[in-house]
């Protein structure tokens, strides 16, 4: 069965001539917003236009050939394409959840290469088109739990990162993998000061080799939208979302634990491991429950699962470790 929700604005049904050009559409929004800039807006904070006309989908992406995977998560209601692409944390494109959908269009995703460096036999650089053909692309639906306390269920497309790692022949001294995201301050001019750019994340080698760790190139059967980390990102479904670096340009093999951007920003709140764990609170909130994106307000709250429900696959990676200490 093809996992796909009907989307009335999907590009295939609408000729591109009928789609409002993005700049015009933005101008119209600005105009309505300006018209509504009264005392009401001063108090309310939200623009009238956003309530009356929520942002729609404006581009058509390339379809990907995919195969089924036994590692896909079943029995969960998928989060809508609209919400997955309009509720994003991608600080290089702004701090608000709606910013990346507005701003990420400027990310230059073609040509794109991913450099593999560090403790490997032969350092290589992969072109994005080579990465897309390196292994059959799989449909992998995963739960996605953000450290902030919200969650989604996302039908990603990709293959196990281990397939790529095998092609790179890491040396036996290689114990960690670092992921570095694209960063260009001239392009990503929304990136707030005070963070250690480019975005850096990392995994222990055995975590990176776990078949669930997904080199991700697509969403809902199509190429990744830019705000979701195009053209290639990592997805680690048993860890909080910020571990899953977006728009990756370099993968480094290291003998030491790499620095990671959120850990640099606030080490007591964002650990290197950051496994989803309802028993270890974030310093500022409980992680026992989560709110599901795209549900009515009275039906959002649900319990958070240990390792986000992927314990059968990954719990053994942490045998004997104190998960309170290594949060």
């Amino acid at each position: 069965m093809l996992i796909r929700k009907p989307d009335p604005l999907s590009g295939s049904d609408i000729p591109s001539s009928e789609i409002t050009p993005r700049d015009k559409w933005l101008n119209r929004r600005n105009f309505i917003a300006a018209a509504a800039a009264t005392g009401a807006v001063a108090i309310g904070g939200e623009r009238l236009s956003e309530i009356l006309a929520p942002a729609g989908r404006v581009h058509a992406a390339t379809k990907l050939q995919t195969v089924k995977s036994p590692l896909t998560t079943t029995g969960e209601e998928l989060t809508s394409f609209q919400d997955i692409t309009h509720y994003n944390n991608f600080y290089e494109f702004g701090e608000n959840k709606s910013d990346p959908a507005q701003n990420a269009g400027v990310l230059p995703t073609r040509p794109w290469t991913v450099k593999v460096s560090g403790l490997v036999k032969t350092p290589k650089t992969f072109d994005i088109d080579a990465l897309l053909k390196l292994h059959p692309l799989e449909d992998r639906t995963y739960r996605f739990r953000c450290v902030e306390g919200w969650s989604m269920v996302v039908p990603w497309v990709g293959y196990s990162l281990s397939e790529l790692i095998k092609q790179c022949d890491p040396l036996s001294s290689s114990k960690y993998v670092q992921f570095l995201s694209y960063f260009n301050g001239k392009v990503e001019k929304w990136a707030p000061f005070g963070y250690n750019w480019p975005y850096s994340e990392g995994l222990r080698m055995d975590e990176a080799m776990n078949p669930l760790t997904l080199l991700t190139v697509g969403l809902y059967g199509e190429e990744l939208p830019k705000q979701d980390g195009a053209p290639v990102r990592i997805i680690i479904p048993w860890k909080y979302g910020f571990k899953s670096a977006k728009s990756i340009v370099e993968i480094k093999f290291l003998d030491k634990q790499p620095h990671t951007t959120w850990n640099d920003a606030n080490g007591s709140e964002y650990g290197f491991y950051s496994n989803v764990n309802p028993n270890v609170d974030h310093p500022r909130w409980s992680q026992k429950t989560e709110r599901v994106i795209g549900k009515p307000f009275y039906a959002q709250r649900k319990p958070t699962l240990m390792f986000n429900g992927y314990g059968d696959f990954v719990a053994s990676l942490y045998n004997g470790m104190d998960l309170r200490k290594y949060y």
């Binding site: 009401a40 108090i43 709110r291 009515p296 307000f297 009275y298 959002q300």
Partner: protein
């Protein structure tokens, strides 16, 4: 100020103050699934908190504005309305936390209030607003006497500072969204002594006989 103008301004103020709530209700009713955006819980919590803080700041702007010109003295007629609406939104904000975040679980609430400093100061700010709302009636002002009442209502400064701290402690490290309202508040605090000094200087200037 003539009566029709005052009535028009009051009507406008009521509409402006009810707008954040109306926007939430409209969103929830027009489309129960996505009318409030991808994260309705977050939306309700954020917009009511922001409305409460903004209304508090606007109500605190009234005294400095009145000092600017005697023609602005009529603004005092709006302060109680703004303050009560601030308390109204702060209360919805608190109730939304209790229901949508803590699922009405007393143990969760107790733990949160004790352990999480942003929740502790948030609850404290709301508690400080309670006596102010209760003594907002004309009868209460008469009963307390102007001096006492004024002293009690100085608590609003503490409440707004705690509210801002609550906002800062809630956002992630490096996020600067609370900066705007904090600067406005700081400017309002600074405006009082500056305006007093300016008025004193003006009064001291010798006038032609």
């Amino acid at each position: 100020m003539n009566k029709p103008t005052l009535i028009a301004l009051k009507t406008f103020t009521w509409i402006a103050c009810l707008y954040p709530l109306a926007a939430l209700i409209y969103g929830a009713v027009s489309d129960p699934v996505s009318g409030l955006g991808p994260d309705p819980t977050g939306r309700i919590e954020f917009s009511t908190g922001l409305a409460a803080l903004r209304l508090l700041v606007i109500s605190l702007a009234i005294t400095p504005l009145r000092k600017l010109s005697p023609r602005l003295s009529f603004l005092i007629k709006f302060r109680r309305l703004l303050g009560l609406f601030a308390f109204f939104y702060a209360s919805i904000h608190l109730i939304a936390y209790i229901g949508l975040y803590a699922s009405f679980d007393p143990h969760t609430i107790y733990q949160d209030v004790l352990k999480r400093r942003f929740i502790t100061v948030g609850v404290l700010a709301w508690l400080l607003l309670v006596p102010l709302a209760l003594t907002s009636t004309t009868a209460a002002i008469k009963r307390l006497g102007g001096k006492q009442w004024n002293r009690l209502h100085k608590l609003v400064y503490v409440a707004v500072c705690l509210g801002l701290l609550h906002y800062w402690w809630q956002v992630k490290t490096g996020v600067t969204t609370p900066l705007g309202i904090t600067l406005v508040m700081a400017a309002l605090f600074a405006a009082r002594p500056i305006l007093d000094w300016w008025k004193a200087k003006k009064a001291a200037r010798p006038r032609p006989a």
